[in-house]
């Protein structure tokens, strides 16, 4: 009984993450359009896109391709159930942040495996860039999360949230400002927004990993991105903004973070890969290290 309850709740969280993610993407397009002085598509445009993609015929390069792309979405969905979302915290004893991060790696691995098995070098180059960039943003992010670990004396997201309870001034965002800025820049890379979107550069490598994806495969890709946005901003909310009392506030907090990322995305051009990585290893890492020193000493 408990099992089914949890199962249904998990499905609910998964659906929530997908819809919030897609909505964010749509709103993001709208906002970007407004920044560009355009009108922009409707906010639900991405729902339309996803539905269209799933209704469209597609080509595949074999079972590794299918499996990889399914894994990309599924693993993220599997990770999202461990994320405390507002009052919904399905597995409070199991919300270790590192575990969630590593589970997300499964999604990257699946995605990378799928698109690379298509045999298109553009896809592989895209993956190579994405992974290189991952190396870039994971390091400052690690600096930040380990600082938070030491600061909060816990590694579980549930407990980190609990440690921040009691108002705005207890938020890690205020208490660990350098870490927050570093993590915010890392989040930009994690979301794959400009200036760190070299992995999917359409003009250079024909949209990179997505080059061979058609129809439902692209749909899975969009879902993965949606869940990814939800998960990554959700982690940030839990780490720095003290979680949320309920889902709506949680989503609003997520949107705040996403909004910053969007603004940056809308006005900046793209880095080259090594520039991106070295940027990540200069400013955010420096901030993260300063934060770490403050925490440790």
């Amino acid at each position: 009984m408990m099992f089914f309850l949890k199962l249904i709740q998990s499905i609910g969280v998964g659906a929530l993450s997908i819809s919030v993610g897609l909505l964010f993407m749509g709103i993001g397009r709208k906002i970007t359009a407004r920044i560009h002085r355009r009108y922009g598509p409707p906010a639900i445009q991405n729902f339309i896109d996803v539905f269209k993609l799933f209704s469209k015929n597609s080509i595949s390069h074999g079972f590794a391709y299918d499996l990889g792309i399914i894994a990309g979405t599924s693993a993220l969905l599997a990770a999202v159930v461990f994320l405390p979302v507002g009052q919904i915290n399905l597995f409070p004893a199991n919300s270790s942040l590192i575990m969630i991060l590593y589970l997300m790696t499964m999604a990257y691995l699946g995605m990378a495996m799928g698109v690379s098995s298509s045999g298109n070098p553009n896809a592989t180059i895209g993956i190579s860039r994405a992974l290189t960039m991952m190396m870039g943003y994971k390091v400052p992010f690690a600096a930040v999360i380990f600082s938070v670990y030491i600061f909060a004396r816990t590694g579980s997201l549930t407990n980190i949230i609990a440690a921040q309870s009691g108002g705005l001034l207890n938020w890690n965002m205020i208490r660990l400002p350098f870490g927050f800025i570093a993590a915010e820049i890392a989040l930009q890379g994690m979301l794959g927004e400009k200036p760190f979107d070299m992995a999917i550069a359409p003009a250079e490598i024909a949209s990179g990993p997505m080059v061979e994806m058609s129809g439902k495969y692209l749909g899975f890709g969009m879902l993965q991105h949606a869940v990814g946005i939800f998960l990554e901003t959700g982690i940030m909310v839990n780490l720095f903004m003290g979680g949320a009392p309920n889902v709506w506030i949680f989503v609003i907090k997520q949107f705040e973070l996403f909004f910053i990322a969007l603004l940056v995305n809308a006005i900046l051009p793209r880095f080259r890969v090594e520039e991106g990585v070295s940027f990540m290893w200069k400013i955010p890492l420096l901030l993260g290290v300063i934060q770490a020193l403050i925490v440790v000493l």
Binding site: L7, I11, A78, T105, P121
Partner: protein, 621 residues
Amino acid sequence: MNSNLIWLVFTPLIGSAIAAILYNYKFLDRLITFSTFAITLFLVFGTHVGQTYSMNLNFMGRMIPLSWNVTHLSIFMLYISIVFGTILTFYSLMDRSRMKGFLLLLILAANNWIFTTNDMVGFFFAWELMGWASIVSVLGGRKERKSRHAALYYALMSIGGSYSMFFGLFTLWRLTGSFSISSNLAYLSSIVGVHPWWVLGIVSLFFVTFMIKAGIFPFHTWVPMAYAYAPDTFTPFLSAVMSKYGIYGMLLFLPISLMEKGMPTVFGLPWVNYIFVWIGVITAVLGTVLAFFQDDVKKLFAYSSLSNLGYIVAAISLFTSVGVTAGIYHAFNHLLFKGALFITLAAVISRSGTSKLSEMGGLWKKMPVTFFTFFIGIASAAGIPPFNGFGSKWLIYQSMIKQHLLFATILLFLASTGAFLYLFKAFHSIFLGQLSHNYDNVKEVPVIGQIVEYLLMFAMIFFGIQPGYILRPVGLIVKSVGLNPLAVMGNGYVTGMFSNVDMPLIGWSLAISFVFGFILFFISAKHKYVSQEDNYTAGQIPQDWGLTPETYQFSWKFYEPMEKLFAPFYRIKIDGFFRGLGDWTRITGSAVKQVFVGNAQIYTLFAVVGLIILVIAGWVA
């Protein structure tokens, strides 16, 4: 009854003699190797903790007591090494590479001896035996010249290491008059407060040996060469089992805690331990960074082994309960996944005939079972949760964080992220991408190989989801070295300090979300399978363009941006130090041999000068 400890050593020796006699009958040789491993495994079932045995060896005209003592650690190491060896030799039944069965059995004998002995004479004997047997085993790789060079390099490092241990054990003998490991360790513990520097010196003599065997940072240079150019079916053993001897040795000596004994501490750690943590971290990062750019797949995974051993060393050097648990647990995990990876590599290399990443590609269509084994292997190696590599990495981070070793942890995290990069590079370049027409006739490995691969897949998933089966014995080991073991809540839990990870839960979560993924996949519109030629080529028609699968495969300079980033670090060559030492020795040698000029008069002159010097010495004295 207790004499079965002796038979643990003698059975492989006898098997080795038989295998050496039957060396020319390849299959029989392999069969005997396998069955000896199986028999030894059977013998291990009969051993239990606390079993001791001793006998006297007549040596130097006096009786040297040889003693055996089975501890929790030794029985754990025995099980994992022999089970893996059995699987490997079963796999090698069908293999055609030039692995020498009798040498593997000699190593097995040494293996059993090292893990059960309680006297340093036996330890040293077995260590040397293992050393030379592995050196000769490395010799038979696919590339003659390179494997010869690798074996030579390995031999020199290894011999240097064993001489260092030679020194150490005799120094201990001079101090205590005993060869017994346990009493010597007790002696060292007792004097550590009085003469910490002495203890440090003696222990470091041993640690140099262990570091060389495990391939830890300043002594890592032999690892990539030896791993890469050893016979393909020997490399799994080299990486999975033999690197653990060093770890075992370190675990023997680590309980001599320098804590509370007046040594200065850093972050609550004795500074020696702190240095070792950093050595481990440097090894981990170095292995990762160097692994990015390898084109030889075995070399790549050799660096990966290096990196993982760095993790282990960093964890066990902390010598906290979490650290030691994590280290031993990671040693087991590394044995499992790296063994599986090297076995699949052996399969791939034997089928494709190359170990160059830039020459392979697209093999997943031809070797699906191998592909899945490799996939699960790299997922484990990257530490992805439901598979077996995660728990130990997670514990390692926790143990480091607990000591507030923040920068070390960040670097370890960097190494782990980097691990994902190079693992994916290997994965892509071997199995994904375009299948060259050279490999049109490549087949899946034979049934024996497939059985082994299924077994390893199962093991990696099983021990990932049920870590309790490993953590319980590890807990006993941790208890036996005098630390508090971590609580094991259930078979499915990895219990950390702050929270625990419920592995079956992750498994369920993944499984259910996969089910949903597949449902979505199958209810949505149809897909059709196309060939690899039908690919986006920016409108160009591949046939007109002269496009071949090889030219449309991206595996050369996979992480080129990284190369630019890491370029400054490439100028630092540790290897260069040893090579420089070698060159210096060679130059000195050529200079020294000029002494023998080949002229009778000069020789006479030498004699006369020598005489005069001696006379003067006598006069002065």
